[in-house]
């Protein structure tokens, strides 16, 4: 029960007025970000990151992670009331959430969504509390070859398991990795790919790229759409909340299954979007009454919301324990860690106990406070959608510019942000995924360093990646995942051939 003691310590770090106030600010900003069109979890966090530059790391991460929880809660509001998913992971929530609102059961649907989000996160936070310290202390034994193998595993699983066309995932990843190499080489001090430009000397900052890729490009994409909306206003009474909560235990199988799916896909780079769809489909398949799905069934709200939150939260597990983010937003939080001067990875648990356990404790507290906050303030946030987009769009542009400039005080970064905005817009439209790009940008330098350190250690012998059982099995697993479509296809063929024989 060492974790429990440390958790109590985490709460003691957390319970100061300043941090609690920042938590509330973060949650409110996050819900705004989740509700507004053209803003989402990753860009919300990226834009608001500069606010935290002068804070101490613990306050900063608490505020940023609360923005993230808030965004997760906020996405459900627009899905249910307006049939507009504020976030991609809440698309599945619209299937049954909006029909419920149309039947005058908006309050029930919202309560169901918020409560199941809360349960999903809680399961994931419990997982983090008891699993992350173990993984981190195991990872302390890792040398450069092991770390490189883990990075390789992350990249390969994106290519092998992603739904996008394989070559597009590879393009996105290779481009991201290349861009991290721009500037001064950390090992030899040589300049690379700068083409004589003194602005490129500093390298391409990860956060500038992210603000452009997610912030600016999202505005361009939003403008393309018809922005008219029609939806229901709703307020939640205590009676409705209690009624939904009383019904809830009946759906414990769905809740548990969805949490498990969410946690699994959150830790592996499947992400909240895949998790919400998968758990919706499974809830439907295992239901006795399949036809009632899509027509306002409360279970159809429970399933995707639980999974999306479980996944969004558990994406922080590999980030904390190994320094590998499980989602785009986690990647940005990781970028934040580096700005505050912390070195992500297993050493965090040893060197910055207050920070890590403060963050984990804030996940518990943030979700409880967030749940109460959204249940009581839904009408206010729904009304935010009345603000015309022509007022919101330029404000987002300004916030992006402030964010991009503040990182290194360079005008060049503003132009870079604009360029990445256009790149993000085009990439999204032709189906080049941005998540691998983000991941590559944040991990690129460390992947290269660990590769070169292992090569230096082994005298250039590639067999170092199979030199012991641990690194060998990670590397092999990475290669299997990279060629998973081929391997999976072959396995399927063998199985069907085998089944054909026995039949």
């Amino acid at each position: 029960m060492e974790a429990f003691g440390l958790l109590v310590y985490g709460f003691s770090v957390l319970l100061t007025w300043k941090i609690l106030a920042l938590m509330m600010v973060g949650l409110v900003l996050g819900i705004f970000v989740g509700v507004l069109p053209g803003l989402g979890g990753p860009n919300g966090v990226a834009i608001l990151l500069p606010l935290t530059f002068t804070m101490d790391p613990t306050s900063a991460i608490v505020m940023l992670s609360c923005i993230y929880w808030g965004a997760l809660f906020g996405g459900a509001i627009t899905s249910i009331l307006f049939n507009i998913p504020g976030e991609a992971w809440s698309v599945a929530t619209t299937f049954d959430g909006y029909p419920m609102a149309q039947q005058g059961k908006a309050a029930e649907a919202l309560t169901a969504a918020f409560t199941s989000s809360f349960i999903g996160s809680l399961v994931a936070v419990l997982l983090i509390t008891f699993l992350a310290p173990g993984i981190a202390s195991f990872a302390l034994k890792f040398g450069p070859p092991e770390f490189f193998a883990v990075y390789l595993l992350t990249f390969c699983s994106f290519v092998g398991l992603g739904r996008e066309q394989k070559h597009k995932t590879i393009i996105s990843m290779a481009l991201g990795l290349l861009l991290t190499g721009v500037g001064m080489d950390t090992v030899s001090g040589q300049l690379r790919m700068t083409f004589g430009s003194s602005d490129l000397l500093r390298g391409i900052n990860f956060l500038v790229a992210v603000i452009g890729l997610f912030g600016i490009s999202e505005i361009l994409l939003t403008m393309e759409e018809r922005l008219a909306l029609r939806g229901h206003a709703a307020s939640i009474s205590l009676r409705v909340v209690l009624k939904v909560w009383k019904e809830m235990p009946r759906y414990w199988v769905t809740l548990l299954r969805s949490s498990a799916i969410g946690c699994w896909l959150g830790i592996t780079p499947g992400g909240a979007i895949a998790a919400s769809f998968m758990s919706y489909n499974l809830a439907k398949r295992f239901s006795k009454d399949k036809d009632s799905f899509g027509k306002g069934r409360i279970e159809g709200v429970f399933a995707p919301e639980t999974a999306a939150h479980a996944s969004g939260t558990s994406a922080l597990l590999p980030m904390l324990a190994l320094g590998i983010p499980g989602s785009g937003t986690a990647a940005i939080l990781l970028g934040g860690l580096m700005v505050w001067g912390l070195n992500p990875g297993p050493l965090l648990f040893v060197e910055h106990k207050g920070f890590v356990w403060g963050l984990i404790a804030s996940m518990y507290l943030g979700n409880v406070v967030g749940l109460i906050l959204v249940l009581t303030t839904v009408p206010i946030f729904a009304a935010v959608l009345r603000v015309p987009f022509s007022a919101i769009a330029p404000m987002i542009v300004v916030s992006c510019a402030i964010g991009a400039y503040a990182i290194q005080n360079a005008m060049f970064d503003i132009w870079l942000m604009l360029l990445f905005g256009v790149v993000g817009y085009v990439f999204k439209k032709i189906g080049i995924p941005l998540a691998p790009f983000t991941l590559a940008l944040v991990l690129g330098n460390r992947a290269e360093d660990s590769f070169r350190l292992s090569m230096i250690g082994a005298g250039g012998d590639m067999r170092v990646f199979w030199s012991n059982g641990l690194v060998g099995s990670i590397t092999t697993l990475a290669l299997v995942l990279l060629f998973w479509p081929l391997v999976g296809g072959a396995l399927g063929r063998i199985r069907s051939a085998f089944a054909g024989k026995t039949a």
Binding site: L51, L178, M193, L220, S390, P394, V398, K429, G460
Partner: protein, 180 residues
Amino acid sequence: MSKPETEIVVEDPAAPASDSPAVTTSRTVDVAVSFLLLAFAALLAFDNWRTGMGWDSTGPQAGYFPFYLSVILGGACLWGIAKEFLARKAAAETFVTRDQLRRVLQVFVPTLLFCFLMQWLGLYVASFLLIAGFMAFIGRIAAWKSLLTAFLFVFAMFVTFDIAFDVIMPKGPIESLFGR
């Protein structure tokens, strides 16, 4: 079905028409981007080859890692191009319609101007002009509302970043009038 509660309605009169003609297809853009990235990969591969992409006594040289990455990038682009030419699909998905492009440019061009202006006027004044101008001319919102909203937002940003959090933004002649 019981009557829904009070409704929230937001109209979008300038919305892009659904039957607006396509400017270009996704396939064309896809191929064009692939060629662009291929050229970029070739350029970076050359630069890294010049830096040194081999091995020396200490291990891989500075250009080693990025060189092979540019090879991978180039390979993936070629794969994509080959796939597009072999597929020969007749049905082409629209990349962007004329109406959509107009709306996108309505945001992009002011943003570009904003970035240019920022260099002389400073961020806060340029922001004020962007927000007020965008709301009034593109959103067709009453002038006083636009000016007031822009002023309040920029003022709040100034107080938050410049005064409360000490994050310094580019400034122009107007801020220096006030001695900041």
